[in-house]
């Protein structure tokens, strides 16, 4: 177990945002969190990241400082920094020497397929490339837990499919625990070994579907019977959860 929420609830002044909700992430596991908009998926992510404390319930986390990485919906890059400096930021904040941080940032950029674009500013990059810089920044600390909050939301279909495969291959190298938030059912089934379906807000668990098949996904996985069946199973749970 690398991070766990047990019976957490979050109350904001405008009302309940989440819970009661429980979720445990095992080391090296990819869990997809699916639910309708406003069900508290992003709130659950902030709890898992340790960025927020629950109103009730408990959060347990084993990763130390710098061992959790978050990728947001938008690339969230600093426009005044080059791709290299953006990717090096977590190391710089941890006090890693400048040259060493730059070297590791370049290695991380190469891993996400951005070798040669180190000096480019975010404004000079396409949406997909900017998202890759964001991914490199998350990978640069060799995290044990990666939280991906709808990272493909702003990308076109071709780019999101390519990035999905790349993320799975990167995962296979170091096997961090990954929590992947999305409202796209196919994407959830494709990316994860376990899909947790949430109800409409305040989100509770509506069900859980274990996804069979190898990770990273082999070619043509999207058109296999198993994939289609599991997408339907998750969709059914989601529909139940929204009706409930």
């Amino acid at each position: 177990m690398i991070a766990a929420l047990s019976e957490v609830e979050i109350d904001y002044p405008r009302g309940r945002a989440l819970g009661p909700f429980s979720l445990a992430i095992a080391a090296g596991e990819i869990v997809a969190l699916v639910g309708p908009s406003g069900c508290g998926k992003s709130t659950a992510m902030r709890l898992l990241a340790g960025l927020e404390a629950p109103s009730r319930g408990e959060v347990a986390r084993t990763p130390g400082r710098g061992e959790t990485a978050v990728v947001f919906q938008a690339p969230t890059l600093a426009p005044w920094l080059s791709a290299r400096a953006n990717a090096a930021l977590p190391l710089e904040l941890a006090g890693v020497a400048h040259a060493e941080a730059a070297r590791r940032a370049e290695a991380a950029l190469a891993r996400v397929g951005l070798a040669g674009a180190e000096g480019a500013r975010p404004a000079q990059l396409s949406g997909g490339m900017a998202m890759r810089v964001s991914l490199a920044r998350a990978l640069v600390t060799e995290p044990k837990l990666m939280l991906l909050d709808e990272p493909f939301a702003a990308l076109d279909e071709i780019t999101r499919r390519a990035l999905a495969d790349d993320i799975l291959e990167l995962w296979a190298e170091a096997r961090p625990g990954i929590v992947f938030v999305t409202h796209n059912v196919e994407e959830a089934v494709y990316m994860a070994s376990r899909v947790v379906v949430m109800t409409a807000g305040p989100g509770r668990t509506a069900g859980e579907v274990a996804v069979e098949g190898p990770l990273p996904r082999p070619q043509g996985y999207r058109i296999t019977q198993g994939f289609r069946a599991q997408v339907e199973a998750v969709s059914a749970r989601l529909a139940q959860g929204m009706a409930a």
Binding site: R65, T76, P79, W80, S82, A94, P122
Partner: protein
């Protein structure tokens, strides 16, 4: 064709208006002390050129010194306020009161404090007071304008207050600072001229004094000459800072 027309349009309008003015003055036999024709203003500029230039430099240099002083104070205070929310609460009402107080109202006081023999000091101080606010409020806003997700990222990696300030808040504030300085430069000129008017002729030799002096002698064309130079000065300074802002933003954004 359209590019040429766009470039020429403002000058064409100016020429047209000046021509109408000149013709009207001649046709209606307007007395020169009431409204001199543009040709007379041009003659006055040519005749007074050396002293006008000296006065323009006087006003400009005082406005620039005031801009530097205001910039240092405003950014220093904004940093302090950015580090301490309680200080911000303490400063804000005072800053607002000082901001809405017209500079002419406090000018006589500052004149007394600076000493009647040191009019330039008072002028710089007053122009700095006027130039202070756009920079200060821009800096305070800018220091809070960082992307909230980037702020979360800094939380996530346990950044210190100083790291957050130097690596996130200050760089995020750059566009606001550029804008603040651009607005402040225009205000510094206005502040300097207003302060010169209050100071009167005592030691201050700026453009406002040229206007006052000519006014006392009913030399209306010379008043216009000083006003024209003042307008050109303001427009030039604004254009320079506009270009600086554009270049600064391009550098900041990398495009």
């Amino acid at each position: 064709m359209s590019r040429l027309a766009r470039a020429v349009a403002p000058f064409a309008l100016i020429a047209l208006l000046l021509g109408a003015w000149e013709l009207a003055c001649r046709a209606l036999h307007v007395p020169v002390y009431f409204l001199p024709p543009p040709s007379a203003v041009l003659q006055a500029i040519a005749a007074d050129w050396p002293s006008l230039l000296r006065s323009a430099w006087n006003t400009l240099s005082m406005a620039l010194i005031a801009l530097v002083v205001a910039s240092l104070f405003a950014q220093g205070l904004a940093l302090a306020v950015g580090l301490s929310p309680i200080l911000e609460r303490a400063v804000r009402p005072l800053a607002a009161v000082l901001q809405v107080t017209p500079v002419v109202a406090i000018a006589p006081l500052v004149m007394i404090w600076a000493g009647l023999d040191h009019a330039p000091r008072a002028i710089v101080a007053l122009a700095a007071v006027v130039a202070f606010f756009p920079i200060f409020s821009g800096a305070v806003t800018g220091l809070k304008a960082a992307d909230p997700d980037l702020e979360r990222l800094f939380d996530l990696y346990g950044a210190s207050r100083l790291q957050r300030l130097l690596r996130l808040r200050l760089p995020s504030a750059v566009p606001y600072l550029l804008e603040g300085h651009k607005v402040a430069s225009g205000l510094a000129i206005i502040g300097a001229v207003v302060a010169e008017f209050v100071a009167g002729s005592g030691g201050a030799q700026g453009l406002a004094w040229r206007i006052l002096e000519a006014s006392n002698r009913l030399q209306t064309a010379r008043m216009f000459a000083a006003i024209v130079i003042l307008g050109l000065l303001g427009a030039t300074l604004h254009a320079v800072l506009q270009a600086a802002e554009r270049a600064g933003l391009a550098w900041w954004r990398g495009r």
